[in-house]
């Protein structure tokens, strides 16, 4: 469902990833591994369309991509339900009642997001993925500040709801999610220090 061919990407004008190709069939996930600074976030942002690739291509069904980063996109002045309803409506969906149980948010529905703990806020940020109905997920460190139980909860949602429905996910993470998914180490795809093409020609 997701095909990446000869992708080169840069961060801040410096090429970081070169000649990356992989294929993620429907219903499976791909775990990105690699040391800090290897380009996991850059790759995910490029795939999500937030920044252009230097060259190469990534193909997936149009309008099916969703991105989740270190930040949750949670508005602290709104309640949990209002936050989720907003993202659902932006994507033309409605909030299914079972999403609150899937992310253990049922007791927090009417709490203001500003009063949530870091882990609870993270769960709310991840629950957004459940209401927007996108098939291709690019997740950057989705389990930061989650406790072991919440990690299991998230992995279960990913496996039993998202992947089971034919979705795909590319996940950058340092911990073991317990998913039966292949891992891709980005270290061999590190761009050479003298690789060209990184400068932003629009500004020269």
């Amino acid at each position: 469902m997701l095909q990446v061919t000869d992708l080169h990407c840069a961060r801040g004008g410096v090429p970081v990833i070169a000649d990356l190709s992989f294929d993620v069939p429907a219903g499976t996930a791909l775990i990105l591994r690699g040391p800090n600074g290897i380009g996991k976030t850059t790759l995910l942002r490029t795939l999500a369309g937030l920044q252009p690739a230097l060259s190469g291509s990534a193909s997936f069904p149009e309008g099916e991509a969703a991105y989740a980063s270190h930040t949750d996109g949670v508005k602290t002045a709104l309640t949990v339900t209002e936050n989720l309803t907003f993202w659902a409506e932006v994507h033309g969906n409605s909030v299914a009642a079972d999403i609150f149980d899937a992310f253990d948010l049922a007791d927090l529905q009417h709490r203001t997001a500003g009063t949530l703990s870091a882990g609870q806020k993270r769960r709310l940020g991840l629950a957004r993925l459940g209401v927007i109905g996108r098939k291709v997920l690019f997740l950057d460190e989705p389990t930061v500040s989650l406790d072991a139980f919440s990690v299991k909860l998230f992995a279960a949602w990913l496996r039993d709801t998202h992947l089971a429905a034919g979705g795909v996910a590319v996940i950058a993470t340092h911990i073991d999610l317990g998913l039966d998914a292949p891992a891709l180490d980005l270290t061999p795809y590190k761009a050479k220090p003298d690789a060209s093409g990184g400068s932003d020609e629009a500004f020269l």
């Binding site: 937030l50 920044q51 508005k75 002045a77 209002e82 907003f86 932006v90 994507h91």
Partner: protein, 218 residues
């Protein structure tokens, strides 16, 4: 789009700094002027249109840096950029939300403050009309400035420097319409120019705003 408008309005009301701050600033600036120039009613009548417009413009400037900065910090902007909403539409909605929370209250409060500055009686209608026609342009131009400076530390200061010169045409024609109205002259030309500026900025600037956002999100 409507969901985004409702969310922004809700945030402006709940987080404060939306309705109240701009209005209070407008009030204080207008009240300070007679202290500075003295209580002569003839002088106040003459400078009232300009003061009211400059004060409204500065009040509109106050809340501009919040338009995108908060969404950028908490990551919503990147998520909005990957959502089905076009960024051009997002900018237009953001400008509309800013107008409803800032421009519209300023417009409605202006006649009361005009009274404090001894504004000429026939000018009140023109004050209301010129602000109603002009403040949407302030919001749209300000949204563009906010998009240019999003992600910068202390971008608010730079934002003022970028945006204030762009406000000049709106200010000139807005204050001129009120002045002519107050002196019983025909004010239709400055009002038409004001409406033209607003229509032009609404038509063109959202595209520039969206382009600036795309670059800043990289």
């Amino acid at each position: 789009m409507i969901a985004l408008l409702i969310r922004d309005m809700r945030l402006a009301v709940r987080a404060g700094g939306g309705f109240g701050l701009g209005l209070a600033f407008f009030l204080i600036v207008v009240v300070l002027v007679p202290f500075g120039v003295g209580p002569e009613t003839a002088v106040l009548t003459r400078i009232a249109p300009g003061i009211l417009w400059v004060a409204a413009l500065l009040a509109a400037l106050l809340s501009l840096d919040r338009i995108y900065a908060l969404d950028f910090e908490d990551g919503s902007l990147a998520l909005l950029a990957t959502s089905p909403l076009p960024l051009e539409g997002v900018s237009l909605i953001k400008a509309l939300a800013h107008f409803i929370t800032t421009g519209l209250p300023l417009t409605l409060a202006a006649p009361a403050l005009g009274f404090l500055l001894n504004l000429a009686p026939p000018a009140y209608g023109y004050l209301l009309l010129s602000l109603l026609l002009g403040t949407p342009a302030l919001s749209v131009i300000g949204t563009f400035g906010a998009a240019l400076t999003v992600g910068l530390k202390r971008g608010g200061l730079l934002l003022s420097l970028l945006v204030l010169p762009l406000y000049v045409p709106t200010l000139i024609f807005g204050a001129e319409a009120v002045r002519r109205g107050g002196e019983g002259l025909d004010a239709s030309t400055p009002l038409l120019m004001l409406a033209g500026i607003t229509a032009g900025t609404i038509a063109l600037l959202p595209f520039a705003t969206a382009a600036a956002l795309r670059i800043n999100l990289r």
